[in-house]
């Protein structure tokens, strides 16, 4: 498997910290979240295996082409439209949260529409790039930020003030009935593999099946990652005290002290790294969304330039920039819970659609 595929999966593992996932998990920390995480990992790895392997049966083809060829037209249109909207939602969550985080922690004097405009200009231009080029950009961002983020994670685990007793209290409540939105939120950290639906066009892997060992390693990585993003804020802010934070991870990063680091407050390094991660996640997600939506929309051209992708991104940008004014934080939070729960169902549908396509392609 090409290394770029792993970048995509790892990217979402990091991005979940921004997209309200830790907050949902922490809210339910005494109601079987550990169980929810385990269920989410098993379920998503199952989807992962089926989806990726089915996509690999069609080398050089994206999901839109496959679905349009092998399923009835009405179904293909609704399905692709729906999936594209979901991709945009995912990018929307990350952008809205990060605009808010920028407003809180970096520059409170700047109006949020301006922050949004700057971010979305970057994201839109990124998303309009060629598919390969987005991957190169992603590689650079990850190579710079990943080692530092891992260093911060380690720094957190070996911190003397991390309360392991508080973490143990959470584990005591492992075997309780978890809620669907918690499972959904946990699965969100592993949905990077869905991007193969577009990136399959350029990845051109030499194998047509995912090997077992890398797959299992990714599973372990996902487990470590989701437990880290759930447990570290609890260890730092306490099992009772962690409830009230809106962005638990950023408050946690502020509690880590690196005396002889670049600067003493880890928060600023963390923010800097996560600007890169959030922007590239939003870019990649928007790119996949645009490519999916483009396939079912008429190809209008104006003086030789395809206008549809720019139009889609313009609508998305205007919507995102205005959303801090349209929705309150509570609305966004409730909607994210619904969205994460929906992901579980969509995973099942996507896998069945692709399995059907594989069967049709064989019988032909």
């Amino acid at each position: 498997m090409s290394r770029y595929f792993y970048y995509l999966v790892v990217l979402y593992m990091l991005a979940n910290v921004v997209a309200l996932v830790p907050r949902i998990l922490i809210q339910d920390r005494l109601n079987g979240t550990v169980m929810a995480l385990v269920i989410a990992i098993v379920l998503t790895m199952f989807y992962f295996y089926i989806f990726t392997n089915s996509m690999l049966k069609f080398p050089g083809k994206g999901q839109p082409e496959i679905v349009l060829t092998y399923t009835p037209k009405w179904f293909a249109f609704t399905y692709l439209f729906f999936v594209a909207i979901l991709y945009f939602c995912s990018a929307w969550f990350i952008l809205v949260s990060f605009i808010d985080i920028t407003n809180i922690f970096i520059n409170p004097e700047m109006p949020s529409f301006l922050i949004g405009a700057v971010f979305l200009a970057l994201v839109s231009f990124g998303a309009l790039m060629k598919t390969e080029k987005t991957l190169y950009a992603l590689e650079i961002v990850l190579l710079i930020s990943l080692p530092l983020i891992i260093a911060i994670f380690f720094k957190a685990y070996f911190n003397q003030l991390l309360s392991w007793d508080a973490i143990k209290v959470v584990f005591i409540h492992s075997f309780e009935k978890p809620s669907i939105s918690t499972i959904g939120a946990a699965s969100y950290s592993m949905i990077g593999f869905y991007f193969i639906s577009i990136y399959n066009r350029v990845l051109k892997p030499k194998v047509n099946k995912l090997k077992l060992i890398p797959f299992l390693l990714l599973g372990i990585l996902a487990t470590v990652n989701i437990f880290t993003s759930f447990l570290i804020p609890i260890g730092f802010n306490g099992v009772d005290g962690s409830e009230n934070y809106i962005y638990p991870w950023f408050s946690t990063a502020d509690s880590i002290r690196m005396e002889f680091g670049f600067i003493e407050r880890v928060l600023f390094i963390f923010l800097l790294l996560y600007i890169g991660i959030s922007i590239s996640t939003a870019t990649i997600t928007c790119h996949v969304g645009v490519e999916t939506l483009k396939s079912i929309l008429p190809k209008k051209k104006w003086k030789g330039i395809a206008m549809v992708p720019s139009m889609i991104l313009l609508v998305f940008s205007v919507f995102t920039i205005s959303s801090p004014y349209l929705f309150s934080q509570v609305h966004i939070f409730d909607f994210s819970k619904f969205y994460f729960s929906l992901l579980l169902l969509v995973g099942a549908i996507s896998c069945s659609v692709l399995l059907y396509a594989v069967r049709r392609s064989k019988s032909k």
Partner: protein, 365 residues
């Protein structure tokens, strides 16, 4: 067409530049430490003291280069906004590393006082926090000799880059808040005093929501820090009938277990391992009597530890987090467990088991 488009985009980016919200560094006042006292006129009001440093290009001795801004208000935010009207520059809390609470403030609802600090986005969670005795103002107004930067001396005390002493209790804002919120563990704060023109941080007090703070004596503070942090650069006094020597500890580790079955009285089995050598002796030390010395250390430390635990238990304080450990090892509803623990803690027995290992008698025999 393309050039026109690119030019337009370039002009559009200018919009971003024009309304940058940052204020220049010379238009900012950097608050380095903050004190909160009870107002003298009205008991309900806060008196907020900000120590504002004046940055200058000269590198030597700027410790006296500061201003104390004071205001009172019903809430902390109110007082701070009044101070804003008194300073010409924008107040910047980004460098505030010390929070000093006046002694009298602790007697009020501590949760209310701490709210401002956790809610504000620009207060660093790794700021050190302590108690000023008798007032926070006295601690902030003190100008130690030869201080490089305003408040730098206190940073060195708590930051462990300077002195390392078992009497100095370090606590961070986030950690203090966590202990206040968490059921099953209580907060603690160092007490900062100014004695004979120098800082003295020898004691600490325990803090709990809705209860009076409990001050600890200096030897109790030392022992608490030893047990709580595994502090290992410490000398402790060992006094027996015939022997009297000072043990310098190289290594100290402690662990404990809570045993609570229905049939017997609940007990905390506390194990302490000490490794060290003799630093100073009042009477002659004999190499062959090492076993006796070990036993003596074990007895003395056991007695002191049990006395400290007893004191904590009698005053219903639990800064070491026995309650949290109980919650971590028992299943059930959290509220029920917390109630259960309160009953258990009142009647629990402490079984302290010390293992000492004196490795040497110093450079001489």
């Amino acid at each position: 067409m393309k050039t026109l488009f690119q030019t337009c985009m370039l002009i559009c980016t200018l919009v971003v530049l024009s309304s940058c919200g940052f204020k220049d560094i010379d238009k900012r006042s950097f608050v380095v430490s903050m004190g909160i006292d009870q107002s003298q006129e009205n008991e309900k009001n806060y008196e907020v003291i900000l120590k504002i440093a004046f940055p200058s290009s000269e590198a030597n001795e700027q410790g006296k280069n500061f201003q104390l801004a004071t205001e009172t208000g019903r809430t902390i935010a109110e007082a701070v906004s009044r101070i804003k009207a008194k300073t010409s520059n924008e107040l910047d809390f980004g460098h505030m590393k010390i929070i000093v609470l006046g002694e009298k403030i602790l007697e009020r609802d501590i949760g209310q006082t701490m709210d401002w600090f956790t809610r504000r986005r620009d207060i660093q969670q790794i700021a050190f926090i302590g108690v000023g005795k008798p007032t926070a103002r006295e601690v902030l107004a003190h100008e130690p000799k030869g201080e490089r930067l305003p408040s730098n001396e206190l940073f060195l005390f708590f930051g462990e880059t300077g002195t390392e002493s078992p009497y100095v209790t370090t606590n961070y804002l986030f950690h203090f808040r966590r202990n206040l919120e968490e059921r099953g563990i209580d907060g603690y704060l160092p007490i900062i005093e100014v004695k004979d023109d120098i800082f003295s941080i020898m004691t600490m007090c325990l803090v709990k929501k809705g209860e009076k703070p409990l001050p600890l004596k200096d030897d109790e503070t030392e022992l608490f820090n030893l047990l709580n942090r595994g502090y290992d650069k410490v000398s402790i006094k060992i006094q027996g009938v015939k022997q009297h020597f000072i043990l310098s500890i190289d290594q100290l580790s402690s662990s404990y277990q809570i045993l609570s079955t229905d049939s017997q009285k609940p007990v905390i089995k506390y194990k302490v391992n000490i490794k060290g050598n003799i630093e100073e002796s009042m009477v002659e030390i004999k190499e062959e009597k090492m076993d006796q010395y070990n036993q003596l250390v074990e007895q003395v430390v056991k007695k002191r530890t049990e006395a400290l635990f007893k004191k904590l238990q009698d005053s219903h304080y639990d800064p070491l987090g026995f309650g949290l450990r109980y919650r971590a090892n028992h299943s059930g509803d959290e509220n029920v467990k917390v109630k259960e623990w309160q009953n258990i803690y009142d009647q629990i027995r402490f079984d302290v088991n010390v293992k000492a290992n004196i490795t040497g008698t110093g450079v001489i025999e």
